[in-house]
Each structure stands twice: as structure tokens, then as C-alpha cells.
């Protein structure tokens, strides 16, 4: 299978000013992410707020440049300087955002929203653009009348369809979906997820699916990367991670999910504490303060990703965690 996107040690740091005279602090929003993504596959990035998944999404969408590391799309590095290569890269990666009520320009008609990518990146005639837009509208399941309407006339689910349509206009190889269904009702989520899966099969799209909803992730993703405070803590095939998590944080995430239960309810084991401040990450393993498996080693040495039972995990005690589940 062709590799469409490759990340090598991608880092994204932000400087935070702490007053006019003090030295700015550095927030390591993304601190060393690597993966390869093949056509027709979905990689889910999972984590809670502050883990860096949104920053990572912006870097992968080329909205921001990585502070360090390399990002390759279709084998081409994104730090390319030649204008036509930039255009080529720009067309290869598109994004669908979380908020259906903010991601469409309220002052543009749907037709104009869809045609804008073509207007900027191609020299198609006006008629050709309109035709392309109408074809995509039909493909995502919207009526042709939608072409001349404004975004506020549509429901949340319909707006996400428009957003997906727009992302498809340039025939991208990779679509980065940042929580695309989180803001939608449950009965509509299914419609949009079905649409995404159908499009993926038809067009061999690769998806980066950023989400906090583990149920959706389990359903749609081939591979999952769990992030904590900017670093990947576990990365592997979906079923493997969900059935046998090797990192205590993955375990906690999975355990914290509400499940439909009847009869005697087993109380969930909740994870205590809160995410540490990214300005002052704890020494050693970032998770050790909340971890039930932590030892003295964890307070000193930051664990690196290593292969354990077929997935990558950054934990000194991954084997213990796996054994405990049995």
C-alpha cells in the first residue's frame, strides 16, 4: 500500500510570553510524533484536552510549520520552497473541522464555499467549477438546491456534509478530521461516519481522525495513537490497543468510558488528579503522578517508545500493565 503521509519526530513548540521582561516559556505542544499513514487507512489520534492533538492536526494540515522534525506527504517534504510544489502539497491534505457552526463562512453561499479551493488552486472555468461543486454536493447526500443557500439554513449534520464536500474538492490524499462528529447528535453522527467510511473506500482516502470519543474511534480507526502532554504514549492497531492496552493512561481512558450497563452496575475505576500544566511538565514520565503502576524509576527516567506485544508503548512497566489485565 502506498504511504501518503509520514511524520518523523514532528515537534511543535510555542513560546508564551510571561510579561515584558521575563524570558518566554516554551510549551511543548507536540513533542516527537512519528507515524506512517497508508492510502485507504485511518489513524486516530486520541487524548484529552491539552494532549496536543489539535496542534498536531494543524501541523499535519500544514497550517503551521513543525518546530522540528519532518513531515512528508506523498514522499515530498512539506518544507518545500518551490511554489508549484507547495500547491501540490496543499492539494494533497485537507481538513474537516469540529465545529459545524464555525467552519463555514456565514457570508458565502454553499456554492461559493465549495468552489473557493478550485478558484485558488486551479484555472478551471466558472462553469467547470460549478459543475464540480454540484457533483460533490450530490456525492455527500445534499440536495442540489443547497448550492445557492447560506450555511445558517442548514442543520449541524448538513453543515458537516458541506465541510466534507469542501475538503474533497481538490481530490486530496489525506483528510484530517478534527473531531468531525463530536458536536453532532448521536443519530446524525452515524450518518456522517457512514459517509466518511464510504468516501474512504471509494476514493482510497487516508484519514487522520482526531477524537476523544473512544467508541467512534474503535469503530472507524485502523490504528490508534494515544497522546499525553504532547507525546505519544501508545500506538498500534485498534483492536489490539482496545483489548489489551499496555500503557496505564490508555487503560485509564478505556476504563473511564461510560458503558451501557444493566443489572448490577460495576463502578468505574476513575483516574485521579488532572493533567499537569504543559508549562511545568513533571520530571521523568509525564503521567507518573496519576499512575497506579508508577515506581521510583518513573519519576526520573522518561520512557521512550518501544515495541511490546506488537505495538509501540512508552512505559517502563508495560509488561506489568498487560499482565494485570489478564
Amino acid at each position: 500500500m502506498t504511504v501518503v503521509m509520514e511524520a518523523k519526530g514532528v515537534r511543535r513548540y510555542y513560546e508564551v510570553r510571561k510579561g515584558m521582561l521575563a524570558k518566554p516559556a516554551v510549551v511543548r505542544a507536540v513533542d516527537g510524533v512519528s507515524f506512517t499513514l497508508e492510502a485507504g487507512k485511518t489513524l486516530a489520534i486520541v487524548g484529552e484536552s491539552g494532549c496536543g492533538k489539535s496542534s498536531l492536526a494543524r501541523v499535519l494540515a500544514m497550517l503551521e510549520q513543525p518546530t522540528d522534525g519532518e513531515l512528508l506527504i506523498d514522499g515530498l517534504p512539506t518544507l518545500a520552497q518551490e511554489p508549484d510544489r507547495r500547491v501540490k502539497l496543499r492539494r494533497a491534505v485537507q481538513m474537516v473541522f469540529q465545529n459545524p457552526y464555525g467552519s463555514l463562512n456565514p457570508r458565502h453561499t454553499v456554492g461559493r464555499i465549495l468552489e473557493e479551493p478550485l478558484e485558488i488552486n486551479t484555472d478551471l472555468s466558472r462553469e467547470a467549477r460549478a459543475e464540480a461543486a454540484r457533483a460533490i454536493l450530490a456525492r455527500v447526500g445534499l440536495r442540489p438546491e443547497a448550492y445557492g443557500r447560506y450555511p445558517h439554513m442548514f442543520s449541524g449534520g448538513q453543515r458537516q456534509r458541506i465541510a466534507i464536500a469542501r475538503a474533497l474538492m481538490l481530490n486530496p490524499r489525506v483528510v484530517i478530521a478534527d473531531e468531525p462528529v463530536s458536536a453532532l447528535d448521536i443519530s446524525i453522527q452515524g450518518q456522517i461516519l457512514n459517509l466518511l467510511m464510504d468516501l474512504q473506500d471509494e476514493l482510497q482516502l487516508a484519514y487522520i481522525f482526531v477524537s476523544h470519543d473512544l467508541g467512534v474511534v474503535h469503530h472507524i480507526a485502523d490504528e490508534v495513537m494515544v497522546m499525553y502532554l504532547g507525546r505519544p504514549v501508545e500506538h498500534g492497531e485498534t483492536s489490539l490497543l482496545f483489548d489489551r492496552p499496555a500503557h496505564p493512561y490508555t487503560r485509564a481512558l478505556l476504563g473511564s468510558r461510560p458503558r451501557i450497563q444493566t443489572g448490577d452496575k460495576t463502578p468505574r475505576k476513575t483516574l485521579s488528579g488532572e493533567l499537569p500544566s504543559p508549562l511545568r511538565p513533571p520530571p521523568g514520565c509525564a503521567f507518573h503522578q496519576r499512575c497506579t503502576f508508577a515506581t521510583e524509576l518513573c519519576t526520573r527516567d522518561r520512557p521512550e517508545l518501544r515495541q511490546v506485544e506488537g505495538r509501540a508503548v512508552a512505559c517502563h512497566h508495560a509488561e506489568t500493565v498487560l499482565a494485570a489485565a489478564a
Binding site: 452515524g190 450518518q191 467510511m197 474503535h218 472507524i220 473511564s256 458503558r259 444493566t262 488532572e274
Partner: protein, 330 residues
């Protein structure tokens, strides 16, 4: 034994530029002392509006009518707004979805808790401050003395929600209404907050109405569940019954559309169509345009709530144990 909260025929209408929107349509609700009632629904179901109406928090363009609206035996409809506020502010508390914006950003957290205490409990300054520290400890906030002087934007979402809960239970309410209390929080914090709420509920024998769109949360926390659709109550029964044997097609469709109930990568079951808006309210059953089992009778006539052994369902052909409508050939 009379219910703590008794609502009959609650209707809320909003005057909008495009006509009258009936957000809540003749909804009944009973909450007993110490009971946890889950109210489930999607957007447009009226689940939040009905509770906001009870608390008197709706704007002036809302018209509220009810056959009966009683709390602990007192008829709320006969009270003046001021009397209602006095009663409701102390014995009924409400927490909302967005913790950081639900707190006043201009005042410290301590000030806001103390304000609630002052209004309903009186007491000396010192007593109020001690009680505030006690409350923050109760809700699991570390270093409560220092936290009293923090502003909402200095605390995380989870912390702010704990503060909201502290404010809510400050006056020892008999009923707590929680409107999507964990939706805006991360899943690990969600679990903490829900555990806190259930613990407090049990300790103080507080009744709780938990409004949410998350069926799983409701199944873990609530004893009875009400399902709302397009402003109407469509089904109510015990939580166990609802999740094993739902009777209303909407409830069944909702449960089957959850990703947990589908195989990986398979197409998810969906409910076609949209919730009716202002201009397209069906003549018959509000769910009929989207229902797989709708008949001509459903499309022409509005069903009432029909009683079955375990609860109520607003359907002419409620589903039987096998998941197909009774009285309709398979």
C-alpha cells in the same frame, strides 16, 4: 407518597420571527425523594428548556403553561416570581454544561459560593467562609483555602465544575438538576465528576435529574429514564428496562445507532431525516416521518402516552420483546 417534583402538561412556547416554536409539548415528569431520573434526548428535544422553565430561567419571550407544577407539595404556579425564587433557589439547585462560563468571571470562586450561602442560609461571615472551605473539600478540590481566592479562568474545566457543584449543594437542596454536567469535560474528568455526583446524591439523599444525550452515562447513573423527542415525552421506564427492552421506536433506533452496538467498520445504523423544526411539525406522530414502522394511522393521528407494565410509551404500536411493533405483522 407524593412525589418531590410533580409536573403535568408542561408546555413552553417561544415567539420567534418565523412563528411560534413549541419547545416543550405537554410534558409530564415525576421525581421522588432521593431518586435519580435521567432525561435523554437530542437537540431540539426540549430536555433543557423544560428544566430551565421550572427554574424560571427562561427569557421574556417564552410562554410557560402547565396543568400542575408542584415541588414538595407547594404549587409553584400560584407563587409570585419572588416567592418562587426563594423556594427554588434553596431547595432546587441546577448545574450547567459549560462550567467556565457558568461562573461569573469577575468574581472569585469563594465570593460566589459565599454569595449563595448568604442569600439562603444567612449565618456569620466566618461561618460562611468555613462552610465554603468545607464544601470545596467535599467536592474534592485540593488546597481549598487557597482556591477560594481563585478566579474561574485560573481553574480547569473539571475544577470549575466541582465549584459549580459545591455552589449547588451549598444550601443542601432536595433536588439537583444537572444539565449535561459532563459533556464539555474530558472523559477521565467526566468519570470523576459523575462519581462525585452519585456519591453526593447518595450521602445527602438528594433527588437528581440528570439531563444528557449520552445514553451510557444515564444507564450507569439513573434509576428511571425519560426519553424526549421534539419537545414531547416519548418513553419513560426504569433504566434497566429501557436499555434491554425499549418500547418506543425512537429509543430503539437511538440505541442501535451507537457505535458500540455495531461491528467495527460496518455501516452504522442511522435515523434518516431531521428533528422537525418550526414549519414542518407533522400532523400525526412527531417521529413518524423518520420511523421505520410508521403506518397511515401514525401519520394522521397524534399518539398519547400509553401505559404498559413497565412504563409509558407514546406509540400506537410499541415494540415488543423481539423489537418489532406489536399488532403489526412481522
Amino acid at each position: 407518597m407524593p412525589a418531590l417534583l410533580e409536573i403535568r402538561g408542561l408546555t413552553v412556547e417561544f415567539a420567534t420571527s418565523r412563528g411560534t416554536l413549541r419547545a416543550v409539548d405537554h410534558v409530564d415528569m415525576d421525581v421522588a425523594e432521593g431518586e435519580v431520573l435521567g432525561v435523554v434526548g437530542e437537540s431540539g428535544s426540549g430536555k433543557s428548556v423544560s428544566m430551565l422553565a421550572l427554574m424560571g430561567l427562561l427569557g421574556s419571550n417564552a410562554k410557560l403553561t402547565a396543568d400542575r407544577l408542584a415541588f414538595a407539595g407547594t404549587d409553584l404556579l400560584t407563587l409570585t416570581p419572588r416567592q418562587r425564587r426563594k423556594l427554588v433557589g434553596k431547595d432546587v439547585a441546577m448545574i450547567f454544561q459549560e462550567p467556565t462560563t457558568s461562573l461569573n468571571p469577575c468574581f472569585t470562586v469563594g465570593f460566589q459560593i459565599v454569595e449563595a450561602l448568604k442569600e439562603h442560609m444567612g449565618g456569620t461571615r466566618k461561618w460562611r467562609r468555613d462552610r465554603a472551605v468545607e464544601l470545596l473539600t467535599l467536592v474534592g478540590i485540593p488546597d481549598p483555602g487557597a482556591r477560594l481566592n481563585a478566579f474561574p479562568h485560573q481553574l480547569s474545566g473539571g475544577m470549575n465544575q466541582r465549584v459549580m457543584i459545591a455552589m449547588a449543594i451549598a444550601c443542601q437542596p432536595r433536588l439537583l438538576i444537572a444539565d449535561e454536567p459532563t459533556t464539555a469535560l474530558d472523559v477521565t474528568i467526566q468519570a470523576q465528576i459523575l462519581e462525585l455526583l452519585t456519591r453526593l446524591q447518595r450521602q445527602h439523599n438528594m433527588a437528581m435529574v440528570l439531563i444528557t444525550h449520552d445514553m451510557a452515562v444515564v444507564s450507569e447513573t439513573a434509576q428511571r429514564v425519560q426519553v424526549m423527542y421534539a419537545g414531547q415525552l416519548v418513553e419513560t421506564r426504569s433504566a434497566d428496562e429501557l436499555f434491554t427492552r425499549p418500547r418506543h421506536p425512537y429509543t430503539a433506533a437511538l440505541l442501535s445507532s451507537l457505535p458500540e452496538h455495531a461491528e467495527r467498520r460496518a455501516r452504522l445504523a442511522t435515523i434518516p431525516g431531521l428533528v422537525p423544526g418550526i414549519g414542518d411539525r407533522p400532523v400525526g406522530c412527531l417521529f413518524s416521518p423518520r420511523c421505520a414502522y410508521a403506518t397511515d394511522r401514525c401519520r394522521g393521528e397524534r399518539p398519547a402516552l400509553y401505559r404498559d407494565p413497565e412504563g409509558l410509551a407514546r406509540c400506537f404500536y410499541p415494540l415488543d420483546d423481539s423489537g418489532r411493533p406489536e399488532g403489526v405483522a412481522a
